[in-house]
Amino acid sequence: MLVELKDITHVYNQYNPTVALKDINLSISEQEFIGLIGHTGSGKSTLVQLLNGLIEPTSGTVLYNNEDIFSDKKRLKFIRQKVGLVFQYPEHQLFEESIYEDVAFGPKNLGLKKEEIKNRVKESLELVGLDYEKFKDRSPFNLSGGQQRRVAIAGVLALKPEILILDEPSAGLDPNGRNNLLELLKYLHQDINITIILISHRMEEIAKLATRVIVMDEGRIVLDGSPAEVFSEEKRLRELDLDLPAVTSILHKLNSKGVSVRTDIFDVIEAKDEIISKLQEK
């Protein structure tokens, strides 16, 4: 197991105690692509901040490669390197004069050698599809919004994380920008073998990419399974006021009207084939 959460409960204590997470048990293995869904305030953000030690749970343990991440506070930096976290609107955290310097911030904090830092910056910029020579000396603030986001993601990739967690990475982008970003995630997962946790409100994104879907509600994990399994729980998801991917939603509705089609389909073309074959049977 790469990461394990054991009996986690977390309570925010600041003003009036609010329970953010309740009895969470979760194991994540290498190579998974997890889609994490749930309402605002369901505990998703708290959960992912636990995973890289930004928040310490009120009770329970977080294991990374079987090591309790809070057992030695000095090693937290190392954990944060292995569990990369990309916050919402990550471009808002850019601060350096040049793109090179900004991407190098993480590796520098790790105390790496100059040569290694340079290699990592180059590699991560190319990963996110920005030409190193062309972009390295430019100011990050003169880029378009979509490009800034790529630089920010490169800044986390430069830590060489084994797990990459992204909180709504496509928020605010136009359809093209969204699609490009999803392609990047697919590439990172399939070709670079990074384990990914994607928080998103867009069920289409989750259905297309994830190998496993986790649904949270009021601080608990309420559903956990393959996309086909989770999205077949139509009623449960509606109760939680969550959407289904549009294709799945259409198929479910057809089913309830007596056209018995399979519902574990997320792709438009596949759905078309299924509908046509079932209608012809009729």
Binding site: E97, S139, F141, N142
Partner: protein
Amino acid sequence: MQGKNMISTFNEYDYSSNPARLIAMQALMVAFVSAATFIAVPGPSSSYFNLGEIAIYILALTFGGKAGGVAGAFGSAITDILLGYSIWAPFTFVIKGLEGYVVGRIAGGETDLKKVIIAILIGGHIMIVGYGITKGFLISWAAVLPEIIIDYGQMSIGAVVAIPISRQLIKHFKSK
């Protein structure tokens, strides 16, 4: 494009031509100083030092006296009130306002390090002497010494952090 607007906000426009832009910009700079003052970093002894000075110097050095003065005066005084030190607010208003104005007046938009340091030394001492006198009269001269030590810390740390940041910002806005 954005940067251009920002510089011009404080230099070219006057109140009558574009009040919304000027007010929004100054208000957010005030909020920036105030938010920075709220961020307290535990320091030596039981005192703490806050980032307010840094924020004032950044604004003054980047945008000049007017911006630094307004942000210093209002930002710090509001924070005094919000934190419950309202008794200091009027003095803070004058002292920090003057500090921001003087630093910005001497070295606003400057990248010449010597000038910048001189500006902060003068501005910083206005703050140090100002608070010294205030506390001396208001409370007692006995309270002045620890105050002065903290204030010197504020000034030096303010300079160390604000100078590189403001140089970067000036360069950024000039390049646009």
